[in-house]
Symmetry: C2
Subunit: 576 residues, 2 copies
């Protein structure tokens, strides 16, 4: 009876950390070996980290990545592994090395190079054109990379056609909410249409704007999930694959091959024998485990925590600084920071002004107490007064307006950055996506900082996430007074967000349609939304491009985040 024990190392690599990534790969290999794994896989570009962006243009980077691959090759005796690296053969390729018992047996080159959204792979890589099938322990294995498996009649189908019974996909698939379901459905379709087991090994970890959510998965030839990796955590997923079941099902339905390969053969499919005989390594029995499905807010919250933690840690910080206004946005950011690090690594700074309500200060204090973080209070009045004095002759005869408001936000930015510069702490900013979209945030003010944790979280989702956090705390960790407070920037007497913006419950669907779905003003109005609201919102989005261009990175959690994902000109007269 043909069986194969597969292992998928869902590791958290770091871009450019060739040494560290190599160590992780060797460590996981040793662990998998002790579990009797026959075939161990690693994520896309595991050796150099993903996405390496323009590091790929540096010849030295490519060379050192090849040197690291050699170390991996010589370190993996007694097992077969598949690991992502950058291959250099004239041009460079996004590649998977097939390594068996200390020898590099073959290399697969990614065929479909994504060049949309956050992806720029055609900027760097040449596409492959070969779909070999590897015989490992007598089992036919097709190997491909990430995007390769997203298309009907793609490389996976060619590999099944050429004899692949198990299709391995090594991936670095960035998270957005709902992506896990989307992936699972797609993979189930591939499994059943190819009558093949699919082992999908995704990366885990945060890299600048992206979070890779892990969620690696093995599906049988009917598309049923047989093993699943953790979401947002490192994991080693091990599963025993029943290859006979694949053969049986293919025999039962002799037309599967013709039905499968609907398109012409586009790629050659040589057979490469890695090992004909199943490995004789002892197979300790596998413990079964259940992974709880997360709720949507739970999932998004997990992504924010991981993305924030990894940005902080991978950039060498150990402490963060957050301006606490007593509002819900900075509150959520503080809660995420505490969950990403520990309370003693998070410092809140309250910076009350003449326009701060007493509740704002007491709420910030209560929050700091609940979260167990320290709070520094630095009133800004003295500095604000000094600015007004030195600007008095320039401002003479003008009415107070956004200039005076922004001075206050920028004083706070300067204070946070001064503390950051003095103590080496990273400033987390607190603007949400609704504010970032409409420019309802001050450049160099509340936008000042290293990482914009909730930049891609619409305001209405901010409330959901706070509710989620309280629900898992089982207590009023986040004070209800903060949740129920009317949103205000408190930069002038009695100011409310709704003085400038529509209600967030009206605004957010407009922003989603305009920013994420490229709907026209006409189409959004047709959704039943007031035309003036739509026009105002789209105008604000367009006019704020220059601000967003100077914003710090933050975690992408929607289908289209601001940043690499959405590239609009600043100079632009197109409306709508």
């Amino acid at each position: 009876m043909r069986r194969l024990r597969i292992g998928m190392a869902q590791i958290n690599t770091t871009v450019g950390d060739l040494e560290g990534n190599t160590q992780q790969i060797l460590k996981a290999t040793a662990e998998a070996r002790s579990l009797g794994v026959d075939l161990l896989t690693f994520p896309e570009l595991a050796i150099c980290g993903y996405p390496p962006e323009d590091l790929l243009l540096k010849p030295q980077f490519i060379k050192e990545n090849l040197r690291s691959l050699k170390r991996v090759v010589s370190g993996c005796s007694g097992i077969t592994i598949v690991v992502g690296f950058v291959d250099a053969k004239g041009d460079i390729y996004n590649a998977a090395a097939v390594i068996h018992d200390g020898k590099l047996v073959s290399v697969y080159h990614k065929i479909y190079l994504p060049n949309y959204g956050v992806f720029d792979e055609k900027r760097y890589f040449r596409a492959g054109s070969e779909c070999p099938v590897y015989i490992i322990g007598g089992v036919g294995i097709g190997i491909n990379i990430c995007e390769d498996i997203w298309y009907e009649a793609g490389p996976d189908t060619a590999q099944a056609y050429y004899g692949g019974e198990v299709i391995v996909n090594i991936s670095a698939s960035p998270y957005h909410f709902g992506k896990g379901n989307l992936r699972e459905k797609m993979l189930a379709t591939r499994a059943s249409e190819n009558v093949a087991i699919i082992a999908y090994n995704n990366l885990v970890g945060g890299q600048d704007e992206l979070v890779f959510d892990g969620n690696s998965i093995v599906l049988d030839e009917k598309g049923r999930v047989i093993a699943r990796g953790k979401q947002f955590e490192e994991d080693l997923v091990v599963a025993d694959l029943d290859i006979e079941a694949v053969s049986r099902r293919r025999l039962q339905n002799p037309k599967w091959r013709k039905e499968t390969l609907r398109l012409e053969e586009r790629w050659s499919g040589a057979k490469i024998v890695v090992s004909e005989v199943p490995s004789a390594s002892p197979k300790p029995s596998l413990s079964s485990r259940q992974l709880e499905a997360r709720s949507l807010p739970g999932e998004v919250y997990g992504a924010l925590v991981l993305g924030t933690r990894d940005y902080i840690i991978k950039n060498g910080f150990d402490k963060v600084l957050i301006g606490l206004s007593g509002g819900i946005d900075s509150t959520l950011v503080a809660a995420i920071a505490v969950d990403a690090l520990e309370p003693s690594s998070v410092v809140g700074v309250a910076m009350p002004s003449r326009f701060s309500s007493p509740a704002s200060i007491s709420d910030a204090e209560l929050l700091a107490k609940n979260l167990g973080i320290s709070l520094i209070t630095i009133p800004i009045e003295k500095v604000f007064q000094a600015y007004l004095e030195i600007l008095s002759s320039s401002f003479e005869g003008t009415k107070p307006n956004v200039a005076e408001e922004n001075i206050q936000a920028r004083i706070r930015g300067n204070i946070l950055m001064a503390l950051s510069n003095k103590f080496g702490w990273l400033v987390l900013t607190t603007s949400n996506k609704s504010e970032t979209a409409t420019g309802y945030t001050t450049l160099y003010g509340d936008m000042a900082g290293g990482f914009a944790v909730i930049k891609d979280v619409p305001k209405t989702m901010v409330y959901e996430l706070v509710g989620y956090r309280n629900s898992i705390a089982g207590s009023e960790l986040i004070p209800v007074t903060i949740i129920e407070k009317v949103p205000s920037a408190e930069l002038r007497p009695g100011q409310k967000d709704t003085d400038t913006l529509p209600s967030y419950y009206v605004l957010d669907p407009v922003l989603t349609a305009y920013v994420e779905e490229d709907k026209s003003i006409e189409q959004i109005v047709a959704m039943g939304i007031d035309e003036e609201v739509v026009k105002q919102a789209s105008r604000l989005v367009d006019a704020s491009e220059y601000k967003r261009r100077q914003a710090p990175p933050g975690v992408k959690i929607t289908t289209r985040a601001f940043g690499r994902d959405r590239r609009l000109p600043i100079t632009n007269r197109f409306k709508g």
Copy 2:
């Protein structure tokens, strides 16, 4: 005798300004008609502006661009024109419309889509595969777009092979210094290898980080320049083409065709008759003109002026604000701003601190006087003192360091932004490329503003540009005391740039090698530079990525600018 009067409209379009661009096209068409032009060309994507970036993902944008094309079609009776637009046939294409006497005759789709450097065309467009030859007035014309002509045996060669006697290339080719020469040599090679006249119509104008330098050019079948458009200015280039000379030369060398088409025929080349008979329109005689070649600093200076002017004007500003420190960088920016606008549209702001030398203030005053701009003086001491007071308990027991230095720079940023917010003036920032590369500039401080004029100008070139500006002024417009001053940020007593950085004459070649040429530390050391200097410089460049990500756009003038041109991760452990 077969002749053709060609016109190339080197216009300054604006991205997204479909209405404005259409008007410009119609106006140039009328002018060309009055000059008896048979065939008039416009730059790449002239209808919608270049590069439209993710506006191309908006269906509404594509639709309105097609609507504008229709208006151009119906507005061009009695002439043949070639104009760039976005074609939509299932997918979208970077296209050239061939319009004759009020009718759309044909559309060419760009074949080579650049996807490197600042270009992302594969993100948007599908590539074309046809190389028709148009018969216009009995003359064979090949039409292609920008990148298409940069490769040996590319679409131009196919078109020559299929009967093209004149090759028209409509382009949006961004400037970097030396690009003009590079282009001219390349075009001369194409002309002589194809034995064809080449009419190269480039865009002119600034768009965010890019400057299109115009410099359109017509070369005869031997590769000799017969007409040339202005650099950095709009122009209508008109030339009479001697088609007989092409025929003669082809007859003299019957092997030209075989020699020309070295590669297999990759693209089909249908013949499309636009007009067999030469137009009978009267041909007023053309006045000849000489264009002076610019020196290298003159060329770069011209690019900076145009890029700055267009950013300001196209974004709706009429006045700019510059912090004048009395240093050479802010001085150069002020001079460029005055040349881009007029003195009354430029406001200097001197913001002396306790560490400012008396000469800095007097130099700023003298400079403002020389340039004829107004100067506001706002000492920052009072505000600085107030910051130190409110931070005193947080900073207790620490030594003054970069925190106190940056507070000052950020006070200046806040003041400039307050004036900007109050009066609607755009802040121009003054960091040069050497500072931007090494992070020797304060985020939210001197980096605060809308446009970073000399962001891509290395410090050593700053001196050259100032020298150039004085040389054309024929006077000491820029005071020699500013030029000869030792560079200093004046943020602590007796500070000099060389306390932190090597001499700029040592540093700049290292930065060019590391940033623009992707050389490794080893390779740069092999250039004969001290290893410690190279290591320090590369470390500073790597560590400053987070700052640059939050920098305003500025004019690209080198082969690789910071911004869209160089995409490095912030989270990155690769050194060298």
